[in-house]
Symmetry: C2
Subunit: 280 residues, 2 copies
């Protein structure tokens, strides 16, 4: 069920993303650099959540397609800008050179800027007006999270707020925009936002655990790269065991919340279980 | 008339921009760095064009206020990213340190990203749905223009297309969004877009002329800094005299176009004359 639906959502998303990128055809290097990162093996989690939320509330996946694409475009731009030398300075992303390594810094900055603009252009093709507010708020909060991260100086008390903005904001935007595309009730949207809050934390904690365990096994050390670099993650702050307990707790909260939106939600319950036990 | 209206539009814009920036209050450095560039003495030309277009088509300035603010936020983000070391590498902007000089590169990248998101959040508060398409298209074309500029290698044949995107796109967005906020007719919007096309070129050519003459007088040379740096501008390509002739021609086209939207348009006709003879 889960992997079939993810494949279906991804294929829908990819076709529409390719169409949207053609908007930039008169600026070939911009289009190429945007496409390079948009089609680099992303899992399309945010568009999938958006379309699944739309279906959960009685719409079709297609009803939420423009909103879904806008979320993937925003997510992709954020990765490009995150990788820049002035930010995380990452040379590689998803197994290939990061955007600025492939196209140079100026083009990478512009690819990110262009993708954000294209995201909102995609939303202009979406008939449901309230979607814009959800997505714009998510995009803005995501930047707030990045800013807290850049300037927190490892302040542990900011960890949850920071992750809530960095990861949670786009998940919230995804489900609320998707639900809005199905004319969902206020109660359904509120329940899905509670799901996104919990799922965002689950997603981030399991990401931190994977990073820690991956680095530990490679380095043959008990502390991972994050700890060595002084990064503030759920694992470096709470330790591995407590982080795993938190992951279970947030998975439980996510299940409860989605049940309140719709008791029949196999995609969501399977996604939560998958994320809790994911290996990549 | 002109300066009174510009003051009125600027004051309206500034009040709303200050309100909008409060959205970021939980990320204080982001808010501070965004505000630093938003309130740095910009002339508010784009919001003024937007609100004046709304009035020209029978609306009030306030009807177009969110659209107007979105354009100024997009313009401001583009200046911050333009100034980055990987782009134009400018240390100063409007007589004070550029954003990355004041806040560091990472914060400047995020200030730009946040301002673009905030621009579209502002639009979510605007009741007129078609405005989003105009503004998003303008924001995207502006990035296309930047990309052509970065990658053109001084290709003269691209000059007009490039400037049309870089400067014209946001002017087009400003007048069409403003007109849409007044429920303007298709003919009025088309005429205002023709005005923006011509006015954008007029604005850019007079900017190039000012740069050239300013640098020439400072350097005591006949060729300005742009020519020395190999930049492609209307002056370096066509020479000063021909550039001045083009400016007059585009001013004429801009006047004709605005007349077709509304014969009684003192703000626009005075703005065109002012721009043609501007000294800064």
């Amino acid at each position: 069920m889960l992997s079939e639906r993810l494949t279906f959502y991804s294929q829908l998303t990819d076709l529409k993303l390719a169409e949207l990128l053609e908007e930039g055809s008169k600026a070939p290097i911009l289009t190429e650099s945007m496409g390079y990162s948009v089609f680099s093996g992303g899992k399309r989690i945010r568009p999938s959540l958006c379309m699944a939320a739309c279906e959960l509330c009685g719409g079709t996946a297609e009803d939420a397609l423009f909103a879904a694409c806008s979320l993937e475009l925003i997510h992709t731009y954020s990765l490009i800008h995150d990788d820049l030398p002035a930010m995380d300075n990452d040379d590689m992303r998803r197994g290939k050179p990061s955007n600025h390594k492939a196209f140079g810094e100026a083009n990478a900055i512009l690819a990110g800027d262009g993708l954000q603009a294209l995201a909102f252009f995609a939303l202009s093709l979406c008939t449901e007006k309230t979607v814009l507010e959800y997505v714009a708020k998510g995009a803005f909060e995501m930047v707030m999270g990045q800013s807290l991260d850049v300037n927190s100086g490892g302040d542990v008390s900011l960890l949850r707020q920071l992750q809530d903005y960095k990861t949670g904001a786009l998940f919230r935007a995804a489900v609320s925009a998707g639900a809005a595309c199905a004319n969902a009730t206020t109660d359904q949207i509120a329940a899905l936002i509670r799901f996104a809050d919990a799922y965002g934390l689950l997603f981030q904690i399991t990401d931190d655990i994977l990073d820690f365990e991956g680095e530990s096994s490679v380095l043959g050390k008990t502390a991972g790269k994050d700890a060595e670099e002084g990064k503030t993650t759920f694992v470096t702050v709470y330790g591995l065991d407590t982080a795993k307990e938190y992951a279970k707790q947030y998975a439980h909260e996510a299940r409860e919340a989605v049940y309140q939106a719709n008791a029949d939600a196999p995609f969501f319950t399977e996604l939560i279980s998958y994320t809790l036990t994911r290996k990549s």
